[in-house]
């Protein structure tokens, strides 16, 4: 993929057209260069955040706060500098500043709303374990395969570098890898749940993540359960070279078999989901949902802007953009996600019987 880093010119914001249309989003001042879930961020993405804009709020069907309606130039200027902040939101602090509306929020308020900004409904990236808690009925989560560890099979760069990164991620997250898999109940319905966690090396997919996704699908197949996958990922894990590329094939192989046997799969793409994850299992589940404002794409915005040497269109690669282009089934806000998953599971109950009936046709 093209990827030389070049400077991209700042584009003046003056001509930003105001539109009423919900789907139209306000132009960012610059291509959202720093929003790229670049594998460089896989190192320490402790607080991945994103800029977002007014229409995202409209899409998320929540009350826009007054200061969003009156969008001052100062705020837009600030938006242009937003990035995956590593230091802005110190984990220990009581207060933090919203990346989107720049209001100071009490951390507990944010956590009470499952990391959706109380002021502007900005959907912060949710660490894996919190995601599990937000979806499943309390006390029903049974994690499987939590002990599989990554191997540095390529002895990637100076031998210790990749190992060190893994060690740091393990220490920081308290989990062995970027993918959590297990079973649990959603409003009483049993499902297999898989969560690709951006807080572990940018949710990058290497051998272990690929294997666990396949295992998640296979548990679902064996127990005749639907599989629900949440993604947030920068794509394939570069440090595992072509082995990580092959995980796109592996996960798809499992999904292809699952489909033939009448399995039902739901993928929820959350901010950000790009690269080899979008270009494999995540995009070919039966139902594809996204959280409001999520950045979703094949290539990261930085790579695209560098390649085409021009400004990216407003709202480019956001969930609201993708749904307009026909790439998503629906955008579901976080506070409605559990209810929606439960309902979808009910709609999928006939899948296996339908597959069996189909085999008997002709």
């Amino acid at each position: 993929m093209t990827s030389e880093k070049t400077q991209i010119k700042t584009v003046a914001p003056e001509s930003a057209p105001k539109r009423e249309n919900q789907g139209e989003v306000e132009p960012l001042r610059v291509p959202p260069l720093d929003l790229s879930p670049d594998p460089a961020d896989q190192d320490d993405p402790s607080e991945p955040s994103m800029s977002k804009n007014k229409s995202d709020d409209n899409q998320s069907r929540s009350e826009p706060s007054p200061d969003q309606v009156e969008d001052g130039g100062e705020k837009r200027g600030r938006l242009s500098r937003l990035r995956f902040s590593k230091k802005r939101d110190m984990p220990g602090g009581l207060w933090l500043r919203c990346e989107s509306c720049s209001k100071t929020i009490y951390r507990k308020d944010l956590d009470d709303k499952v990391r959706v900004c109380p002021a502007c409904s900005f959907h912060f990236t949710l660490p894996g374990k919190q995601r599990v808690a937000s979806i499943l009925d309390e006390g029903t989560w049974k994690e499987s395969f939590g002990n599989i560890e990554a191997l540095d099979r390529l002895e990637f760069v100076e031998n210790a570098a990749y190992c060190d990164k893994i060690d740091r991620a393990v220490k920081r997250t308290g989990q062995k890898e970027a993918f959590l898999v297990g079973t649990g109940r959603v409003e009483g319905r049993e499902i297999v749940l898989g969560v690709l966690d951006f807080s572990f090396m940018g949710g990058s997919m290497g051998e272990v993540v690929g294997e666990k996704i396949s295992l998640a699908i296979e548990i679902a197949e064996e127990r005749n359960l639907p599989v629900v996958l949440f993604t947030s990922s920068g794509g394939a894990r570069m440090h595992e070279g072509a082995l990580s590329l092959m995980q796109m094939a592996k996960t798809s192989a499992s999904l292809a078999r699952f489909n033939k046997r009448g399995g039902f799969s739901i993928c929820v793409m959350t901010h950000p989901t790009t690269g080899g994850v979008t270009a494999s299992f995540a995009s070919v589940c039966d139902i594809i949902l996204a959280e409001p404002g999520a950045l979703i794409g094949f290539a990261g915005p930085r790579v695209i802007a560098t390649t085409i040497k021009q400004e990216l269109p407003p709202g480019f690669q956001r969930a609201e953009f993708l749904i307009q282009k026909g790439m998503l089934d629906a955008i579901v806000p976080r506070n409605e996600m559990r209810r929606r998953i439960a309902s979808l599971v009910d709609f999928g109950q006939g899948a296996r019987a339908a597959a069996k009936a189909k085999r008997e046709l002709i």
Binding site: M1, E4, G241, G275, G276, A279
Partner: protein, 335 residues
Amino acid sequence: MSKSKNGSSSGLPFEAPIREIEDRIAELESLSASTRLDISSEIEALRARLESQVESTYSDLSAWDRVTVARHPMRPVTSDYITEMLDEFFELHGDKYYGDDRALVTGLASMEGRKFMLVAHRKGRNTAERVECNFGCAHPEGYRKAMRKMKLAAKLGLPIVTLINTPGAYPGIAAEERGQAMAIAENILGMFDIAVPIICVIIGEGGSGGALGIGIGDRVLMMEYAYYSVISPEGCAAILWKDGERSPDAAEALKLTADSLISLGIVDEMIPEPTGGAHRNPAIATASLKEALLRNLDELSAIPLQELLDTRFEKFRKISHIEGRFPTVADAAAS
């Protein structure tokens, strides 16, 4: 070998010693022509030296050197193999939804009595063709065209040969708007259900998802100086060291050459190239590719379809499996 004076070694930095001898030969030849001096024995001696220089240079190439060979402008591309290797080729255009991506060619092919569907990246030979083919970077409609033709092949019982040669799927606005990720994902998924033999050959650049989008097969072969990688060495170097100059280090780290990929269980077979690379002797490269294709087509055609599909599934499902490394679904049930 190495008789060509068509600039076959132009550009590649590691070929400097080869170029030096080639230049010297050209010099002597023109001297001989203008002065009518008989220096043919000197020229012959230089030719022998050239041959051994090519051999020794190519016996010790770094991963990065190989990447530059894979990208060599004179390296045979799909259109050369179509012309030189196939007895018949009838192109089938278009994805029947949006357009006809010139970066990916599909069509009905026959070769030594075997009929098959060819699905191949197209890079072009000259500047005009390269631009037309978008330098081998396909858009979603290319991948959708590929899947459409592969489904046709499955219906007709024709095996499929894919030739992979792309720096990557195109990272542009239109490509994203039309669902680049979705198109590739659909292909990867769909190729597991295509009930005819599939042979994939990386003939030059195997660039990440753009390669994998036509890269699921019963056999994955790789030309000797091709590369196959999750990210370009330049991209990797930019991320790791913020320095494109370190691409050679990145190429080394990524283990993107045929021998490494065979040992990792990702590639099944390396197709040998002539000494000095396919660009130095396209005819030998073509013969070598043809031999490998015929042999693998014949082997695969003898396998019952259900077994073929099951084996294809296992091949990719078991990638990364080292004895005892991963648990099974049964282990989850037990816990």
